[in-house]
Homo-oligomer: 222 residues x 2
């Protein structure tokens, strides 16, 4: 019982900060999206390409969550977008308090959209609300098509599922991945989820993702 | 402070069970390896191929950890090896207590080697000792070559690093992955780590992994 109570206390302290973040973001009319996936699904590559290709339409900032290193924040900064790195030092998810401090270090008056790139982990980050308008889950085809069934929480909670690295499905590559199965399993958990099969490398499928982003920023909700 | 104390209590309760598991495994002369990776790195495929190809040399059993579903245990059972499924119901790692119960449900008198396939997560499982002789970390080339730098704990603690899906590096596939960088970064964290680049799909590189396994089972240590 003690474990449960402590877990509840940690979660509710997190919710207080998440609520502060919601108010702060509303005040500054910024849409905030929390991007979650396994390590190596392509979150940073999706973000750098999205920032570059929407440069003239949306002002984007990024909060980068990593256990260690600022490799990803450096990649974001190379696009000239502002990025704040949070190193969790071993912790498996970002907390709303960490995001709260990071928001103070972004030029919020110049931004339309903030992406939070969470720590690479398909499990823990789904339990921690950060004050975002919505979650984006990324699944690379190299990870296999059984992931919505095996890791249901994040697929149930996300507004968008980006199925990335679809270039690996082309003839010659040895990846077995049934996009139909993923769509069916994800929609069983979450009827309203938007699903965009993309390749952040080749650019395939990105137009629909960009259209969704532009529309969401315009109405400032998802 | 309270959070820290509770975390310590949870970890030390885990260690008690881990110690029980060490004694139990020693008594039954079974080598136990704890396999850890991101979701979709290929743990189950490596295990099914390894079980099939070493059938006449080593008797292998598997403890399967998943958030939900018994998809992986079913794949293991199809090889005729005994498998016990643990569903964590949302928790991001296996605990030593769960492994303790699973060991009771395996035909331990017939086994030389037990693999624990942990929940797909490159972060949390590294903090929980299960009583294993060693950890095996799997990294698929599709995940990128920056992972030892970004998720150092598990690379620092593992006896073996399996770099899987090297078939995706062949001409035609769009995967950038510098095996040398991964080897250098992993060895900076862990001088003694054994590194085997493999493809569980094509079979490339598996002989060295099998030789290491056979040798480790013979001496009952890693």
């Amino acid at each position: 019982m003690q474990k449960v109570n402590v877990a509840k206390k940690i979660l509710s302290a997190n919710e207080e900060y998440a609520f502060k973040n919601i108010l702060f973001l509303a005040e500054h009319k910024i849409l905030c999206l929390n991007m979650i996936s396994s390590p190596g699904s392509g979150k940073t590559t999706i973000l750098t390409r999205t920032i570059n290709e929407l440069k003239d339409k949306i002002k984007i900032g990024v909060i980068e969550g990593d256990i260690q290193t600022d490799i990803d924040a450096e990649k974001i900064r190379a696009t000239k977008a502002p990025a704040v790195q949070i190193n969790t030092g071993g912790t498996c998810h970002l907390s709303a308090a960490q995001v709260n401090r990071a928001l103070e270090n972004l030029p919020v008056n110049e931004l339309d959209l903030i992406f939070i790139e969470n720590v690479g982990n398909l499990v823990c980050p789904s339990a921690f609300e950060l004050g975002e308008a919505g979650k984006i889950v990324v699944l690379s085809v190299a990870e296999g098509d059984d992931k919505p069934a095996k890791y249901p929480a994040i697929f149930a909670k996300s507004k968008v599922l980006l199925i990335n690295k679809i270039d690996l499905l082309s003839a010659g590559a040895q990846v077995d991945f049934d996009i139909k199965r993923v769509k069916t399993d994800a929609r069983k958990l979450n009827k309203a989820v938007e699903i965009f099969p993309i390749s952040a490398k080749t650019g395939e499928g990105l137009t629909s993702w960009y259209d969704w982003l532009i529309k969401s920023v315009e109405k400032n909700s998802v």
